[in-house]
């Protein structure tokens, strides 16, 4: 008898242990019928958390802001996000989990490899469009990734814009020598071939090309290479902050004072302030207006919302703006589908996206946005103004 009881107990414990972790679920889908769901796999912890927190806040705040304005044609947006730790396994698991539980129409992820890993499932579901913070050229591919939106220009395009600016500002004088210093990551490498090709076309000499690790770099030998090359301009790519200040410091000690340039994520406040302290006016191409600018209605709205919802946040990083903009694009797609009386399915959403040829982003990007190729090939040059302590426009908006 005791054996029988023991066996039954073991069997029931075993069954409970095997099913228990998977029994925890959510039933939001039932409670929130009619909501337009935006799912997200955000790197809130891990090596990319400095961006992940901002991206998560940006999309979350956009949803709150939009719902306060009445939602999309009267339908509320609902934001469901989880932390991926910038790990592919977790990112893909989160995607599948949220897809199963909440049936989102839109999904925001964090990396190029995440986009590639979920594309087959996203396309097979026929019900979702995705976006991410990645500006890699491989994800701006409407043919192979029909569901994906790149909320900015790709890295090669950013470098093409930079080269155009350098060529325009050096007209009539000797062409400046340019050196590339970039990280051996996709973020670092992706834009370089496009930049070099445009430089060659414009007759701009690339006198040095230095590839470094992402972190823990021995700067001295690289500065020695730069000293031999004597560049007039050094373009950093693939770094958010370090090792740019150390490079600049050692270049100054070596008697080099080139103009320092960068793109996109490398033009955030930590970078321009750190370099500003060294007397360097960081210049670069940004795909969005900065959070302190007042000539953009949407940036003003963001600032007002943050002042109420997150008063401790004084700076609007580009990662916040990119996810807010992605939210705007998602909402616009949903609105166009609803107006056309089409269900939120991939072919209709893709058509709605590609019909956004002169879409007003509220001034986040300076020109009317053309999303027909699933990206926004527009940027503007900004230069650090030490008097104001901010990045100020140094060119008009450039489209390539």
């Amino acid at each position: 008898m005791a054996n029988l009881v023991r066996r039954k107990l073991v069997q029931s414990l075993g069954a409970a242990a095997s099913l228990g972790p998977f029994a925890i679920g959510r039933s939001y889908g039932q409670a929130h019928k009619g909501d337009i769901v935006i799912g997200a796999s955000q790197p809130i912890t891990g090596i990319f958390s400095f961006a992940g927190v901002a991206m998560n806040n940006g999309l979350h705040d956009f949803v709150q802001w939009k719902n306060a304005k009445g939602g999309v044609m009267g339908r509320k947006l609902r934001y469901v996000s989880e932390d991926s730790g910038f790990k592919l396994d977790q990112g893909v698991a989160i995607f599948k989990k949220i897809m199963a539980a909440d049936k989102p129409s839109f999904f925001y992820g964090e990396s190029t490899q995440w986009v590639k890993a979920i594309t087959k499932d996203a396309v097979a579901s026929n019900s979702i469009m995705t976006s991410s913070t990645s500006l890699a050229s491989v994800v701006a591919d409407p043919a192979n990734l029909p569901q994906h939106i790149v909320p900015g220009p790709t890295y090669p395009r950013l470098h093409e814009i930079l080269m155009e600016y350098i060529a325009r500002t050096s007209r009539g004088s000797a062409k400046p020598n340019i050196a590339y210093v970039y990280a051996d990551t996709e973020f670092g490498r992706d834009g370089i071939p496009g930049g070099k090709a445009r430089a060659e076309k414009l007759g701009l000499p690339i006198v040095a090309e230095i590839v470094t690790k992402q972190a823990g770099i021995d700067v001295a030998p690289e500065v020695a290479k730069l000293r031999r090359a004597k560049p007039d301009i050094v373009i950093f790519q693939g770094y958010i902050l370090a090792p740019m200040p150390e490079f600049v410091r050692q270049m100054q000690e070596a008697g080099l004072n080139p103009q320092i340039m960068g793109t996109a994520w490398g033009l955030d406040r930590p970078a321009y302030e750190a370099l500003g302290k060294l007397g360097v006016r960081l210049t670069g191409v940004s795909m969005y207006r900065y959070g302190h600018e007042t000539d953009s209605p949407m940036i003003n709205e963001m600032r007002e919302y943050l002042a109420k919802a997150r008063p401790e946040q004084k700076n609007i990083p580009p990662f916040y703006i990119t996810s807010w903009l992605s939210g705007m694009i998602f909402a616009e797609i949903a609105e166009r589908c609803i107006k056309a009386n089409k269900p939120l399915q991939l072919p209709h959403m893709k058509a709605a996206l590609e019909s956004m040829k002169e879409w007003d982003s509220g001034g986040i990007t300076g020109l009317l946005v053309d999303l027909s190729q699933h990206d926004i090939p527009v940027g503007r040059i900004y230069t650090y103004d030490p008097g104001k302590g901010t990045m100020e426009p140094a060119s008009s908006w450039i489209k390539v």
């Binding site: 005791a2 054996n3 023991r6 073991v10 075993g14 095997s18 972790p21 998977f22 925890i24 809130i44 912890t45 891990g46 958390s49 989880e82 932390d83 730790g85 790990k87 592919l88 396994d89 977790q90 893909v92 698991a93 599948k96 989990k97 897809m99 199963a100 539980a101 990396s111 190029t112 490899q113 590639k116 890993a117 594309t119 087959k120 499932d121 097979a124 890699a136 050229s137 491989v138 051996d184 990551t185 996709e186 490498r189 992706d190």
Partner: protein, 346 residues
């Protein structure tokens, strides 16, 4: 109450599971897994696929490190070798039942080369040598664009069996499940052969093993080769599961992950490999679930639980090494013993 296992025939002794109860539990477990695509959600299937891949890789590392005592920090890179081998072969039209073994053998050959320092050095020095191999391999992943696609990565065509596409998690799961089951049985059997015993002898005291007639050169290189074979197959399955891969996946922390799984699960134990891989893969999910569940009542706790994942891995290794060096397998064995000997105390 079972007090022991008394074999009356050699056939009975050679059985993998030595009691009817164990056999029935294994059958029930296998059936439950086999039918998972029917009753499981997409999320459960995705997690099961990822767990299966990690189980295979952990089994391999347990053979090299747990059985043979050879520390390897290049296991993550071996996965990459297997993945890119499968990607390249699949793009040339080779079917999966050839690409997976090919990935295993290519990685095994590389494992032999990486394992050469083990003939001269041990312990920390061997770990550094395998670490160097890791960096060399990851450099090759980034630079050899013709094969790996370079930094942007490469895609892997879906597996197909005589025209039937093995795509989607529900079909790939069976491929992973079959490979994991077969390789777990193979690992279990390996421990009962001369080769497996030679590994243990080398781990415990290689000089004594050599005196007893164990060929150190062959044994150590075979340990690396078999471990790498498992990693290569796991890498190939990883490629079929994700459909696309970049070099950023095969970082050093992946090797540390598998090492942690081996230690937490139990060195030298097949069950330990499975439990360790399961635990390490599901732990971030459990932490995230706990953070989400607690966020509604205790938002501050949720804020702490999310970053804790980074701390928990390191703590687990230390805790298990100090308190339970034989890992989860030993804990499970104690639980089983308690039930076997109940109501008598162990």
């Amino acid at each position: 109450m079972r007090t022991g296992v008394f074999h009356e025939t050699f056939v009975a002794e050679e059985r993998l599971w030595d009691s009817t109860t164990t056999q029935r539990w294994m059958l029930a477990f296998t059936l439950a897994l086999f039918t998972l695509p029917v009753w499981g959600t997409d999320y459960m299937l995705a997690m099961a696929c990822i767990v299966g891949i990690h189980v295979i890789a952990t089994l391999g590392l347990n053979i090299t490190t747990g059985n043979a005592g050879l520390i390897s920090l290049s296991h993550g890179a071996f996965l990459g070798v297997g993945c890119y081998t499968v990607a390249w072969l699949a793009k040339h039209g080779v079917p999966f039942y050839l690409t997976l073994p090919a990935a295993g053998f290519v990685t095994a050959a590389l494992g032999v080369i990486v394992g050469l320092p083990s003939l001269r050095v041990k312990g920390l020095y061997l770990a550094i040598a395998t670490l160097a191999a890791h960096f060399i391999l990851t450099f090759v992943f980034r630079e050899w664009e013709a094969v790996t696609g370079g930094v942007p990565g490469t895609s892997i065509p879906r597996a197909s069996l005589f025209g039937f596409e093995v795509g989607g998690d529900r079909r790939v799961f069976y491929l992973i499940f079959a490979c994991a089951f077969a390789m777990a049985v193979a690992a279990r059997n390996l421990g009962r052969t001369y080769v497996g015993r030679a590994f243990v002898a080398v781990r415990d005291r290689d000089i004594s093993a050599e005196i007893l007639g164990v060929n150190l050169l062959r044994t150590k290189l075979l340990a690396f080769a078999i471990g790498a074979f498992y990693a290569g197959v796991a890498g190939g399955l990883l490629g079929y599961f994700y459909g696309a891969i970049t070099p950023e996946y095969f970082v050093l922390t992946l090797s540390v992950f598998y090492l942690a799984a081996v230690i937490v699960g139990g060195l030298g134990s097949v069950l330990g490999s499975i439990l360790g891989a399961l635990f390490m893969t599901l732990l971030p999910e459990l932490l995230r679930l706990a953070a989400h569940a607690s966020s509604q009542w205790f938002p501050a706790v949720a804020g702490l639980l999310l970053p804790m994942q980074q701390v928990v891995f390191g703590l687990l290794i230390i805790v298990f090494l100090v308190l339970e060096p034989h890992g989860l397998a030993a804990i499970w064995a104690r639980i089983r013993r308690t039930f076997h000997l109940w109501p008598f105390r162990t």
